[in-house]
């Protein structure tokens, strides 16, 4: 096994983990506090990518595009919450799943109408397109490194927001005791709208930063939504810490599995059999992992305190 290649794939795994974390954090926050299952989270991710594409085209700068796209994304989330999501809080999970599935169909067509069926690629500025020499003789793309840094920064920001600020206190109060938070005079509807806005912003932001690598396209939300669901199921639904740990786990296992599983299997299988089975098995790896973890811990690795069975 080539050492430099392994290091590169390892970093790629962390980078995927960061993108998944941004998505899963919003998903798990929204579920943990509002008890809402939001399948349309992947659509917000897609929407973010298209926003980034459009605003980058308009301003001619990717960075400037992001600066505009993020607030627009949060605003979109807030509008969505007020128009459609709000009525769902008192419904059961099946209703959540159905209605947000309806939103997926809606957003998919909306994007086709506004942006067409072809994808939109986003060119990176020169200073983000090259590779950077890391210690130990590893060359790694600057932009992917930036994604990792941004992901860590957002994780830190979320941690500070939840642990140190008044809003965070409200979030924690809401998560642990809805009635008490209401009795303390917390404006619950406003809090919920705000949290959905933050969640939408995070999902959109992850779509924005991935778009230069994959181009904005219509199916992009479908796959990543499932991966994010796997992340929060493994991490323990409602736990941001769990989402962080299992995002990294899933990102690494998925990436390294795709790169090295056939090599690994070739150690004890005929080469052609390993090459045939490797890709199939590696694409199923995270689901097998999820099944295995749930078999022993049906509540995930970090079930939030007070979670019901």
């Amino acid at each position: 096994m080539n050492y430099a290649l392994f290091a590169e794939q390892f970093l790629n795994g962390i980078q995927l983990g960061m993108v998944l974390f941004l998505l899963a954090a919003g998903l798990t926050l929204i579920f943990g506090i509002m008890d809402l299952v939001n399948l349309a989270h992947g659509s917000l991710y897609m929407l973010g990518a298209y926003y980034a594409a459009t605003f980058t085209e308009m301003t001619g700068s990717f960075v400037l595009g992001l600066v505009i796209a993020v607030p627009v994304m949060i605003l979109s989330g807030i509008v969505l919450e007020i128009v459609a999501i709000r009525t769902l809080y008192r419904r059961d999970h099946l209703d959540h799943v159905l209605a947000t599935f309806g939103l997926i169909l809606f957003f998919r067509e909306l994007v086709r109408i506004f942006w067409g069926s072809a994808g939109r690629s986003i060119p990176l500025p020169d200073y983000l397109s090259g590779a950077v020499a890391l210690p130990l003789g590893i060359d790694y793309p600057v932009y992917r490194l930036l994604i990792i840094v941004l992901g860590l920064a957002v994780a830190l920001g979320l941690y500070l927001l939840v642990q140190r600020t008044r809003i965070g206190m409200l979030i924690r109060a809401g998560a642990s005791n809805r009635e008490m938070a209401g009795a303390l005079g917390v404006n619950i509807p406003l809090l919920y709208t705000l949290i959905f806005g933050i969640g939408a912003g995070l999902a959109g932001f992850s779509g924005m930063i991935i778009a230069p690598l994959t181009a904005a396209n219509i199916g992009m939300g479908d796959t990543v939504l499932i991966q994010a669901l796997v992340v929060i199921v493994i991490g323990g639904i409602g736990s941001i810490r769990g989402a962080f740990v299992s995002s990294l786990l899933i990102g690494l296992i998925d990436t390294l599995g795709r790169s090295f599983l056939d090599d690994l299997m070739a150690l004890f299988l005929p080469v052609n059999a390993a090459e045939a089975a490797g890709p199939a098995l590696s694409s199923m790896l995270i689901y097998i992992l999820m099944a295995a973890i749930l078999f022993f811990r049906p509540q995930g690795l970090f079930p939030p305190k007070g979670a019901k069975a």
């Binding site: 209703d95 159905l98 599935f101 169909l105 479908d222 499932i226 669901l229 694409s283 199923m284 097998i288």
Partner: protein
């Protein structure tokens, strides 16, 4: 369970009658495409019926039901690819694989409750989506074209005959309806519905619920496999998209549209779903922009679906 005549039952009878005469009615009214549309509706009707056993009657929100249809379709396709077209080999194996996958997935996911269950059934079903995509021998992303239909070995049951195939599908639908009707009203069915109503209470009267839920899961998966067999023979094609999760969502859509937990609801839902899609896509290329909000409106304002609306305020009964 009284045999009273309700509006919903009249409509159900009407829909079934339409299914029964479509091969003759459609050419007569100059819309031959309706034969295909109804055949597809019936296939998806069987799938939706099977899902309704666990979702509508059992309260298990399985969001990966398309996988059981998909693996059966792939089984038929892979058999045909290797030159085996004998239905008496193909079909039992396909049903067996669907049942087996349902058993494994059920055994894992039924250990969990609520939202975990939804997400796990969703995620597990994606395993086979990725497996199909990476199976280069069987077409990976492009899917697998099925060159020859199943051979039942009976001269008057040649599935290459459009009308014969149509009526095989029709009979399978009637059979599925009958089986489901018996199951739902049996002792087993009572337990399944009791679990939906109050699982803790069921344990309190001494019923180990897990094994009943698992049995229902396997029955539903097997019946959905039948839909997959028919789908493979009807489309002569199967692709990873057949078992991708949005298809499971569409299946639930059909159930909710027709009426969850009612016997005929899913069939009515499937027929209306495909008709509506056909009508809407004539009006606009972007028909899903109407479909999506429609689903939300049904969820918010008409939880009983078409059957519920037809029965008026009797939907609780």
């Amino acid at each position: 369970m009284s045999a009273t005549i309700t509006l919903a039952r009249i409509v159900a009878a009407l829909v079934l009658a339409l299914c029964g005469v479509m091969p003759y009615l459609a050419p007569a009214v100059g819309e031959p495409f309706l034969i295909g549309l109804f055949a597809r509706s019936m296939i998806w009707g069987i799938a939706a019926l099977s899902l309704n056993l666990i979702l509508g009657y059992g309260g298990m929100v399985s969001f990966g039901h398309a996988v059981y249809l998909g693996v059966a379709s792939y089984t038929i396709g892979i058999f045909a690819f290797h030159g085996v077209t004998d239905a008496w080999i193909q079909w039992p194996v396909a049903l067996g694989i669907s049942a087996f996958v349902a058993f494994i997935f059920g055994a894992i996911s039924l250990r969990t409750r609520g939202v975990y269950f939804i997400m796990i059934t969703l995620a597990l079903s994606q395993m086979f989506y990725y497996l199909a995509r990476s199976a280069e021998m069987y077409g990976s992303d492009d899917g697998l074209t099925i060159s020859r239909r199943s051979d039942l070995g009976i001269s008057w049951l040649n599935l290459n005959n459009r009308v014969t195939l149509y009526y095989v599908i029709f009979v399978c639908l009637l059979l599925s309806l009958f089986i489901l009707w018996r199951i739902v009203n049996s002792r087993f069915g009572m337990v399944i519905r009791g679990i939906k109503s109050n699982e803790t209470r069921m344990e309190g009267i001494g019923i180990a619920t897990y094994r009943y839920k698992l049995a229902a899961f396997v029955i539903a998966g097997t019946m959905c496999g039948l839909a997959g067999i028919l789908e493979a023979n009807f489309e002569k094609f199967v692709s990873p998209d057949t078992l991708n999760w949005p298809r499971s969502g569409e299946m639930i859509f059909m159930i909710v549209l027709g009426g969850m937990g009612s016997l005929f609801g899913p069939v009515i839902g499937a027929v209306v779903y495909w008709l509506l899609q056909d009508v809407l896509s004539d009006i606009t290329e972007y028909w899903q922009i109407i479909f999506g909000p429609l689903l939300i409106l049904i969820v918010l304002f008409a939880r009983g679906g078409i059957v519920g609306v037809l029965n008026g305020k009797r939907r609780d009964a």
